[in-house]
Subunit: 441 residues, 3 copies
Amino acid sequence: MEHSKADSFRPTNIAEGTGQRIYALAERLYPICRSITGNGVRQTLDRLAEHIDVERHEIPSGTQVFDWTIPKEWNIHSATIKDARGHVIVDLAQSNLHVLNYSVPIKARLPLAELKRHIHTLPEQPNLIPYRTSYYAENWGFCMEHNRLAAMADGDYLVEIDSDLRDGHLTYGEFFIPGATEREVLLSAHICHPSLANDNCSGLAVLTVLAAELLKRQNRFSYRFLFAPGTIGALAWLAGHEDGLGRVDHGLTVSCVGDGGGPTYKRSRRGNAFIDRAMAEVFRHKTGATVKDFVPYGYDERQFCSPGFDLPVGCFQRTQWGAFPEYHTSADNMDFIRPEHLETSLATLLEAIAIIEGDWTPLNLFPKGEPQLGRRGLYAALGGNKDAAAGTMAMLWVLNLADGHTSLLAMAERSGVLFGELAASAALLRQHGLLTDANAL
Amino acid sequence: MEHSKADSFRPTNIAEGTGQRIYALAERLYPICRSITGNGVRQTLDRLAEHIDVERHEIPSGTQVFDWTIPKEWNIHSATIKDARGHVIVDLAQSNLHVLNYSVPIKARLPLAELKRHIHTLPEQPNLIPYRTSYYAENWGFCMEHNRLAAMADGDYLVEIDSDLRDGHLTYGEFFIPGATEREVLLSAHICHPSLANDNCSGLAVLTVLAAELLKRQNRFSYRFLFAPGTIGALAWLAGHEDGLGRVDHGLTVSCVGDGGGPTYKRSRRGNAFIDRAMAEVFRHKTGATVKDFVPYGYDERQFCSPGFDLPVGCFQRTQWGAFPEYHTSADNMDFIRPEHLETSLATLLEAIAIIEGDWTPLNLFPKGEPQLGRRGLYAALGGNKDAAAGTMAMLWVLNLADGHTSLLAMAERSGVLFGELAASAALLRQHGLLTDANAL
Amino acid sequence: MEHSKADSFRPTNIAEGTGQRIYALAERLYPICRSITGNGVRQTLDRLAEHIDVERHEIPSGTQVFDWTIPKEWNIHSATIKDARGHVIVDLAQSNLHVLNYSVPIKARLPLAELKRHIHTLPEQPNLIPYRTSYYAENWGFCMEHNRLAAMADGDYLVEIDSDLRDGHLTYGEFFIPGATEREVLLSAHICHPSLANDNCSGLAVLTVLAAELLKRQNRFSYRFLFAPGTIGALAWLAGHEDGLGRVDHGLTVSCVGDGGGPTYKRSRRGNAFIDRAMAEVFRHKTGATVKDFVPYGYDERQFCSPGFDLPVGCFQRTQWGAFPEYHTSADNMDFIRPEHLETSLATLLEAIAIIEGDWTPLNLFPKGEPQLGRRGLYAALGGNKDAAAGTMAMLWVLNLADGHTSLLAMAERSGVLFGELAASAALLRQHGLLTDANAL
């Protein structure tokens, strides 16, 4: 049993073409018109289910979840603005972003001045369509390019939004991989943004492929994947799983993982949780990687890290939300994300998981002085060589710090040596009978 | 009762003309020839008493205060150096700095060479008169411009100092504003330097106007203002108040607050007292502000922070003593200090007091997930807007950190959000029933 | 008794010519062909014994020391490579580095290609002879200049190594100076490198002269000097002294102390041991000085700091091993080290010892306010002088921090004032009855 820990540390080699497979999945998710409820979520889960056996949960409208109520279910069929002569100016069929998400139905003829009060644009990015929502206040509206709005002539326009807002359900997906222990790793991506490639599709696709990968392995930890609509979906899941939250040892929300920036890790509210240390360790050896302190804004780590739960959940991204100009606009499309970045994001998650899975606390069985590594073939036999040091440093660090109170991750933090090198050295030293598992005594 | 805390946080708006009023008071204090005892202190207190009902204490010469003894009382009437023909060369009537403070009486005719042994100048600032004292060693002397001394011809001179040094009293002033609790804030300025504008008058004037301002308010804390001669006055006060020192929760010595430099805050000996944190928080958002570690030199924080008391008393200044060339010279005059700087210093003290008065520890009553702010009109209703975050960040921080163990000041330190914004947000959230006072439970 | 502590702080004045004396001793050690066993170690100890009465210990081959076994004793008489015509190409008599240390005997005629497998060179430093060893794997070989190897013509060569490798002893030296207490300071230099001036002779010579110096003094601590072959010698000593290791309060390994770089201090494994703080304090006031974290590589601190012992032993060097190009080559010769650097290294050790010997924890007997220093002649009598502060700062720091919990070293760390100035001030204040020894109460 104890050996499984050291053995379960594996390199994060990824099969060729994995980036393309993630991208292809994101591409299939991109056209769906998602919202926090409705068939868009269900269709998205259907496509994830082609890869993993994701479980679908439906929570009825009106259900109380903590301070919130599950809203009516929203589905949209069409939305257009036409000019007085019937020419279509704006059409949902052209972009899912054209309609204010959660717009109530409307059919009306309005003068431009009045219509403008319901139109959202980005004057500083005049050729992009903004993404806007009005989940909890009944409203209707359109989003469009500022330049096209500016070109609209005065006069009356015909607006028609064919949507349903009625009692139904909120839908979320969950996928659970049991491990050797009941202790859980929670990995969560929101599933509510329509046609935004980086800020939604990328996280869903990377986590789905990660789940498929972990399913092939023997894991110490159980892994729980959550695909829930932002805020209300996470709250619904939390409300339904309060009894199990004590099993969550580590967690990450994952979003915006397809662009070429970052990576960025935002610490959990605790600030020094194991996941925070593991991600910092992974990032320590990556150029351009940034670790940021927790702030109570962002994705569903806001809910997981609320003071009543305070779960050890951080947020993993490439460029942080809001920090790229394409954020929440029509430019966050399939050209903005790349297979190689998606693959690197997956690899980064696997590196963190390698630490979660592979960490253990060695006890040096020969703690007085160094054991004679040379006799065991573990030491450069020829002394005095200037380069000999480097190769055995990881082993010497493990032996020196294996006081039974220092885990491999703590050793990596102190020594600056890669976790993977320490883990490999510790496995070798254990094979030679020099170490044992301090926690197994 | 508990509401008074949140309510007592007030903006530090200052009435127009306050800087001029402080300056005018300093201007009335400047001409008085103060020392550590004598009528100069009494006259100074009389002028403060035109603003606040300051209480005068008289401690007899010979009284033992800890390791010290209250010295004889010193009063000076005139002091001159005349040349052999009777022309006045140096005259106390021209500057209070001309006489070595605490000079014993003398009337003598001396050759220049011998006289020079009693004359103090500043060779590197040859047009300025230095400030010198000899409180605890009987001596006499004059202070003058180096250039004028250099111009004095050889020959005999007539010196005459008409002073009294005899049993009398040491005088200090105290002003107490009772608050809702007995817990005290100690604010202290020395009252012993003659005709030095920044290094004495500024502190006395700012604290007097501050006292007048606090008198108009309902305060949680009681405020004790101390106007005592340096070292011996502070020791006399400490000796007389030992039983009450346990009530002092926060304190500041205040001096050199009229020049345009700094501001500078020197931490208390404890280094992490609430006052140290509050001043650091105030300074965090000010350009040019410097927080320094405690050193056992400076003003009466030396006594308050001696190891037998270790009171939480820091020192607030603009430019630190000794760091401006006018320090302890005749150039520290009424031209060196400005109304606007005095007003800014007062405002800074009020900001610190706002934290002292306004800090409390909220408990989130809806700690599981975020409460639905939108439903209460507390959240930007239209999601997806890139700017929506900023406006609600203070509220989200308060909710997230309101675990019942984190005060508003600690929240400000962690979040980087202004204390005032957090306090206003917390008050709003409390009005909406989302928070309560953790310490009132 | 308690006074001895304050009194035992002495300036580290060093007699003139000390650097030359250290250098002269190193010069006598340089020609000896040392290894981890054999007569080279004995000859080296004989020369140290001309200065201090070093005790010689002999441990038989085959003795088990922890995970290691004392190897056979190695002695070498000659080693040559001759060309086919009998011309000597390489000769041990020219440089002790020419033979692979611990080479077994051999006499053979070999073609160049085969011989090359036994020849070690430094292609990037082609005119230098490398230093190589093969202690624990039986082997033979030569070390030479790369350029000279390149010039060797094809053909047969005659190699002859006349060495003994047979049961004998491992030798190490120890010198103990009893102090007022049994608490020990361990000072250790390896004694196994042949003809390397900085990386062996310098440490041996500096420690020997240091021992002679300490022998003249009355010390609080007992001092134990260890001259043991690297790794196996340190382990042999540890194995024989396990019962006494609890007495070791402070320790240093010393090597590479004759070059002009650094100084460098490597912390003990504990990282915050008193010796780590004392060396950091000494280094704080030295230009170019570097304090580094512990790493489990270097000299015998590797053994002293293994987790089963975890002794408070750091490593003192000038340029760190491996960081100078002469390291482990024939260029680490007597020209590379200089008397003035050896003397400075000795002085640095004496500074650290001054802290070890001189640290104590004062208690202020007049803790309420400052005591009146002026009355005791301890304070500049003339107030207001801008320069008066500097001279009394050390005294004010000691009084302010003398709360009975803060030792002089902790005061130096907090105040930034030199330990020596604080110690002198504390001694003066104690003479005046203002302080006592908190630990003597």
